[in-house]
């Protein structure tokens, strides 16, 4: 047996785990970057969320590989009839991790929930300003306006009171930023004068605890034997930070890691052909689209918009630009979200019909602008190329499009101001709720200048359906309403939806139980590895 002369007791335990190779299972994940820190409350990047995910749990969570909300630290919850009060009944006997500087003296309880939310919400909280104090997602999801109170009822019950009924609220609590921290740890670190340790060396209730982070190199976790869903099969979880995509795939093929995300699309063939590897795929929770600004003629005429939907060759774009890593889109939400309306048929590619419809609408010669973003986005690998392809298709039916772009921040601002006639953009979902797409991107409220409805399309029937769906927590009822809304969207055609990008996850055949998470987070709960 190896004798290790290391200071850290945790390291020694980990070392023993490695040494007894026959028993301890190690999973190496080749991650694509370094985390900013380990607190999802203050992070915004997927890379940082990935690094924190093994450590924390939330009140509710997204089911494996799905956008459905399932119990987490809360076993069950009640929603009042008026939709304003959510009462969470917390699991008993959940244990927090320990580390060199901290050992919990009690189990998880309601105090931890209140302390977690107060940090993000109350400007005068002792922790509010720690590590920069920017709680981006808590703010972006509208929580400060939505929350009226977060109160402990008793040790195992927490009550959230809202200012207005908002059915997607429950999905917000399943997001990364709502990870539950240990109040005891926060108090201890504050007392020791090192509050930032809460963000650098975190304590959670998750399936693994953090052992060590070698900056830009390796993150090591060890299994939490007391995890409330059961001790995981992987004893040692290791993230090997490998920023270059080709190097990541090389490591996978050489067996130095077992799971590696974000392959180059050009490498997919080779990876799929490798006998030792399996490649999982799933549509991302996103949509890329070309919006028509309905406030500018002739885009106010729905016949023109429908015609344009038939004038552009979507499949050619998917082949040329997405290189197969994209599924054609025709609804405003991706198929991974519940209430996706499968009955809607996409507009066919029919330039002749398009030309006829345009003539009918009295549009003979049209010159327009066509905005594209200068950066790569998850839903759009090369906006300029897409714009060029669209420009060519439009030219075939007698429409001249002038390509335009700005620096990303500027671009977004101007699109939101409605300066464009046609503009490319997209959206990545936050919480898997249909309202997070349709409400944010297509409601009347968002059509104001500066709002995210860049088609500036305000349809009362559509918006009314969304408002109703937000007020009730009954998922069956909501599904019905959203399906109707998608029909209106299809008919009115404020966008030319382009694609939902597809996420590919290559991994060793020895790995089983891995589910691709629609949100893009890489989750290892439930994963096992052979041998």
């Amino acid at each position: 047996m190896n004798k290790r002369l290391l200071g850290a007791a945790a390291a020694a335990a980990l070392a023993l785990g490695f040494a007894a190779a026959a028993e301890a299972k190690t999973l190496v994940y080749c991650s694509e970057g370094s985390p900013e820190n380990f607190n999802p409350q203050i992070n915004t990047t997927g890379t940082s969320f990935d690094a924190a995910y093994p450590i924390f749990s939330r009140l509710v969570e997204f089911g494996p590989g799905s956008t459905e909300v399932i119990p987490g630290l809360a076993e069950k919850w009640d929603v009042s009839d008026d939709g304003l009060t959510y009462t969470f009944h917390l699991r008993k006997g959940v244990k927090f991790h320990s580390n060199k500087a901290f050992k919990p003296t009690r189990d998880f309880n309601a105090d931890d929930v209140v302390a977690t939310f107060n940090r993000m919400w109350k400007a005068d909280d002792a922790y509010a300003k720690v590590s920069g104090g920017a709680y981006d997602y808590f703010n972006d999801m509208g929580m400060p306006d939505l929350l009226k109170a977060v109160e402990k009822v008793d040790d195992n019950t927490v009550k959230f009171s809202l200012n207005k009924p908002e059915a997607p609220f429950i999905a917000n609590l399943a997001m990364d930023f709502a990870a539950i921290h240990s109040k005891e740890y926060m108090d201890a670190m504050l007392k020791a004068g090192t509050p930032e340790q809460v963000d650098q060396a975190p304590i959670g209730t998750g399936p693994w605890s953090l052992v060590d982070y070698q900056k830009d190199a390796v993150i090591r976790y060890k299994v939490n034997p007391d995890y409330f869903r059961g001790k995981q099969k992987i004893d040692n979880l290791v993230y090997a930070i490998t920023p270059d995509a080709t190097a990541r795939m090389a490591k996978l093929q050489a067996g130095e890691c077992q799971i590696a995300p974000y392959p180059n699309p050009a490498d997919l063939q080779k990876l799929k052909a490798d006998k030792n590897l399996q490649v999982m795929e799933q549509e991302g929770l996103n949509v890329g689209y070309l919006a028509f600004n309905v406030e500018k003629k002739p885009f106010d005429d729905k016949r023109v918009r429908q015609a344009l939907n038939m004038a552009i060759d979507k499949d050619a774009i998917i082949k040329a630009v997405y290189q197969g890593a994209g599924k054609p889109a025709h609804n405003p939400i991706p198929p991974t979200i519940w209430s996706y309306n499968e009955n809607i048929k996409a507009y066919p590619y029919d330039p002749k019909k398009a030309q006829e419809m345009l003539k009918e609408a009295g549009v003979t010669s049209l010159s327009t602008d066509l905005w594209y973003m200068p950066v790569q986005r998850p839903y759009n690998p090369d906006a300029k190329k897409i714009a060029e392809l669209v420009q060519a298709d439009l030219a075939k039916i007698g429409i001249t499009a002038e390509l335009k772009t700005f620096e990303w921040g500027e671009y977004r601002k101007r699109l939101q101001a409605g300066e464009h006639q046609m503009g490319l953009l997209g959206w990545t979902g936050d919480n898997g709720d249909p309202d997070n797409f349709m409400g944010v991107l297509l409601s009347c409220g968002s059509a104001r200048p500066g709002g995210q409805n860049i088609a500036k399309w305000c349809n009362q029937d559509f918006t009314k359906l969304l408002d109703e769906a937000r007020q009730t927590a009954d998922q069956a009822k909501r599904t019905e309403l959203y399906m109707k809304a998608q029909e209106i969207f299809h008919e009115e055609a404020p966008w030319f939806p382009i694609a939902h990008s597809v996420v590919y996850m290559p991994m060793s055949k020895k790995v089983s139980g891995y589910k691709v998470h629609p949100f893009g987070t890489h989750i290892f709960e439930g994963v096992d590895i052979e041998g």
Partner: protein, 336 residues
């Protein structure tokens, strides 16, 4: 010598100020700010944007930010990273040993191969060996590092399983960072196989990083040797009957080395500035990659601190080289 040193040292302060000012200006000329770059499609309310910038102290006038920064630096405070919220100096010191280790090994590789190759090419001028060396060095100099590195990985690591793909040491070894140099730490830990693993992980990255310096050193040595070999004193030495080896090894090489040492010193300075591409491909956690990522994230304190620290290193190395040059070449030492 003393006067030489004093002159050089006195130039340090204005140089530093100049570098800091230049870095500051260039960094702030890049459009966007640390808040802006994190914002996705949703955008951000202008008030919140302004508030976050205010909390970072980025809404003060430029000259005020600059003076406040210089004041802090003079007290040894290089600021806090806007992204990780850890002190910039700590981040630099954590990552620098990796760059140092890689640079040293890369230069050793470049010198060990480049120097003899250049000497032999000069001595056997016009021969096949000479042509091969010159051709190879031209190729090495022109080759894109990224492509070269990935080619080596795909060949030697994936196909032939001779070398590891990336990283500094095999993941089974969890070492306490004592010096930060993986090879030394591996030796100190006493673990079986750790030192060997650290060395194996250095092979490909140091070859890739050392390729261009190798090419430069080989050419420089060759041309310098050719010049020296044409000198009168070499003809005299030969006429005196000294063996070829002694003429070349003792009389020619010592003189030929002078410009080569300067070049080697400059190469070290360049390499210590962070081998961004090599570090990215081989997942080598050094300062080059850190700096480039800081640009993308608009981490101003990290960028300014990083540039300042690297500039100090390069200046120190150049100073050393100049002193070494003086030692090697008595004519410089005794001038005036």
């Amino acid at each position: 010598m003393l006067r030489f040193l004093l002159t050089r040292v006195s130039l340090v302060i204005p140089t530093f100020l100049g570098i800091t000012a230049l870095a500051f200006i260039l960094i702030h000329l890049v459009p966007g700010d640390p808040v802006e770059v994190r914002v996705g499609e949703r955008g951000i309310a202008p008030e919140r944007h302004a508030q976050l910038l205010h909390e970072m102290g980025l809404d003060r006038p430029w000259w005020q930010q600059f003076l406040s920064y210089v004041g802090d630096v003079l007290q040894g405070d290089l600021g806090i990273s806007l992204i990780t919220h850890r002190p910039v100096l700590d981040e630099f010191l954590t990552l620098f040993p990796a760059t140092l280790e890689l640079s040293i090994v890369a230069v050793l590789f470049a010198v060990a191969i480049g120097l003899p190759a250049g000497v032999v090419a000069a001595v056997k001028r016009g021969s096949i060996f000479d042509h091969v060396v010159m051709g190879a060095s031209l190729t090495g100099y022109s080759m894109p590092i990224f492509w070269w590195g990935l080619l080596l990985i795909l060949t030697f690591s994936v196909q032939l399983h001779l070398t590891p793909v990336s990283g500094r040491i095999s993941l089974e070894y969890f070492l306490e960072p004592v010096t930060g140099l993986m090879t030394i730490d591996a030796l100190l830990s006493g673990e079986e196989g750790a030192f060997r693993s650290a060395l194996r992980h250095l092979i490909l990255p140091s070859i890739v990083l050392g390729t261009i310096p190798l090419a430069v050193i080989a050419r420089m040595t060759r041309s310098s040797m050719l010049e020296v070999l044409n000198e009168d004193y070499i003809r005299t030495a030969r006429a005196k009957g000294l063996s070829g080896r002694r003429v070349i090894g003792v009389h020619a090489l010592r003189n030929a080395l002078i410009p080569v040492v300067t070049v080697i010193g400059l190469q070290v300075g360049t390499l210590m500035g962070g081998a961004i591409l090599t570090e990215t491909i081989f997942s080598w956690p050094g300062i080059g990659k850190w700096l480039v990522e800081s640009i993308g994230r608009r981490d101003y304190p990290a960028l300014q601190g990083g540039v300042l620290l690297i500039a100090s290193l390069v200046m120190s190395v150049n100073l050393l080289v100049d002193m070494l040059y003086g030692l090697l070449n008595p004519r410089i030492r005794h001038r005036r």
